[in-house]
Symmetry: none
Subunit: 213 residues, 4 copies
DNA sequence: AATGAATGAGGGTTCATTCAT
DNA sequence: CATGAATGAACCCTCATTCAT
């Protein structure tokens, strides 16, 4: 079993090595202009080897996104059940996770949000698609739980919690995509984090105040 | 002059004809899987003709986005200077424009928001890039003007107006992308408009209320 | 008939105008990279018009060569029958014509010599091919006549006059092609004329001296 | 080591296989009408494979020329340093090499001389261009050395040795191109070799005799 | 005669993927 | 498992040529 386990770990190790290389190349070239040969070169492997670990280029690409989505979701779930935090504190913790993940790997996160595109989504194989569906359901579920808790506690005003969760998630993705593209268009400094902070201020107010008088 | 003008109009007509066909094909296949030959067929023209009107596939694709962005911006600017509306009414008018444009052509709008992607942005020619930059600056400018007016009138609380405009725009794009992808993932009904309504409620509250107590 | 003649002259005029433009463009781009559209633009005509005067691109290209070949041949023939010159003087006159034509239009001359290529020759239509055959036969005939006269006069040693004419013509084309390409390869000054002068010295000696002792 | 060497040899083998096929196809169709697909078919390989060994069509074509130029140059250099030959004998040996190479592969040789064309030359990549420059400099250098030796020995009259080398090389290329094209034009027998023999007689006389009396 | 918009066949090239070693 | 040479389908784009006006 020692042998079997080591094999398993080596295999996992290779996958990571490839995904790391893929991240670098996709990041520099974008999906279309990146070639499997270049990724293989970056990973110091041969092209053929990539196909032992990933079914094809698309799934290698998607794996990057799934990875960060799982990472993000895990962290969100971690404090949802934390009894020591009230709903508003959880909302702020959510914001901090969003920012931390953005800081951790902006490019893969952007990539994840672009996955929300018909073109990409349509071409994924069933299992991969399911993994995405489930993980993103978990992510939205975690946000929904926070919102629901706030409503139950009377801290947040009563609205459809799933819609609110969608808005929070959408704001996150929208800010990351738009502010990042502004950076590219105008050679600006990176304002994503500041903008996220302000966006969450607005969201917090919107969630707590009943209505414009 | 009659001749010259008619020629001009015919040329404009052809561009539209091609863009219409391109929209159909890109919409059905996505950028990569769409072929110029198929677009030409859809437009009942020969492949070569496409290149008389668009430099290459990428610029044809981008033209669709620019088009809707200009359309959107024009409408936004239209009521910014309307003296009969106060800032909050303008904000609601903005929401209505957003919704109307989404209803008018969801697919091209989604396409526009995906243009905010490094991969696509990096490969555009100078003139096209400039057109995007300018038009999107106009769009953000229009939103900024509304927010600024609200602040000046004491209706909105004082915050950095550009950041707020970015957040509004980002929320729009985020909601459209995310809720649309949820529809694809889960074969859901289209909730984009309802979600946008709710999102704007939150934004309106966030803009008018100073802070959580 | 006045009308008919004027029409005729105008037509001739247009051909020249097109050939002039073609010369410019072929010269700058080479045959393959030159486009009919660009030639039309240079001639301030539309692409379609070119086809009223030349059957296709290849024959337009070849016409340039035929033109200079006829020009060259005419001048050679002019002094072949000049009773005031002896064979050696005629040989020197030949050299002068060669140089003058090179100076007049180096590019078209080079073009002519490249026509001596299987690829180009094989794709010409019958009539054009015949014109080339006849004119180049005339050219070689003129040189042969000079050599023959020299032999008859006992000035040149007895050898096969056609072979000698071929060698003279080949030397001309070889020097022009090779020295011009050296210019391109090494960014050298143009040494074609000096090299031709030296080459003809050698030829003159070779023709007059019987053999190495 | 055995493995590495064999791989190397196999690779070299493939290049030859492709060049052989290319020679056949270019020879039959000329550069423009030859297609990569046809060459691949002739080599019993797939089109893609060609691009593993040659950057593009042009460089495959040029490689053929460079090959024969190197072959020619090697042989010329071989006897330049032969102490057993005097200058005149070396000149005659040069002629023999010229003839042998022509007999060995006339078509590729003609191809080489056509490379001396602006159009082709301008579109070559730096490294390939350099290889041509260097090899043709070596070729001219070898001829120059012979001529210089003749002058030093007092066998040849004193003239600029480089110019003489150029003339010899130009005569070679001119005779091959022109007499071969005569063959094509008039369905003649192949007189290249006889003409070269006569040409070298003239050159020998021209080099040894001081001047027309 | 002149136009010039439209044509559409054609080919070079790329690159994800495979498979014999 | 790993390799990497070979594959070959696919596609963008060019441009000589045509023809309705």
């Amino acid at each position: 079993m020692g042998i079997h386990e080591r094999k398993q770990r080596e295999k996992e190790q290779r996958r990571k090595q490839i995904m790391e290389a893929a991240k670098t190349v996709f990041s520099a070239k974008g999906f279309n202009r990146a070639t499997m040969e270049e990724i293989a070169g970056e990973a110091e492997l041969s092209p053929g080897t990539l196909y032992l670990y990933f079914k094809n280029k698309e799934e290698l690409h998607t794996s990057l996104s799934i990875n960060i989505l799982q990472h993000l979701t895990e962290q969100m779930i971690a404090f949802v059940h934390d009894k020591n935090l009230d709903a508003m504190e959880k909302l702020m913790a959510l914001k901090d996770v969003f920012i931390k993940v953005y800081e951790y790997d902006a490019m893969v996160l952007i990539n994840l949000f672009h996955l929300q595109s018909g073109e990409t989504l349509k071409n994924l194989s069933g299992p991969v698609l399911n993994e995405i569906k489930e993980t993103s359901a978990d992510a939205i579920g975690a946000i929904t739980a926070i919102v629901q808790e706030g409503i139950d506690q009377g801290v947040f005003v009563e609205r459809h919690p799933v819609a609110l969760a969608d808005i929070i998630w959408a704001t996150y993705s929208g800010v990351v995509l738009w502010v990042d593209s502004k950076r590219l268009l105008n050679n600006e400094k990176d304002f994503v984090i500041q903008t996220l902070e302000t966006a969450f201020e607005l969201i917090a107010i919107g969630l707590t105040q009943s209505d414009k008088p």
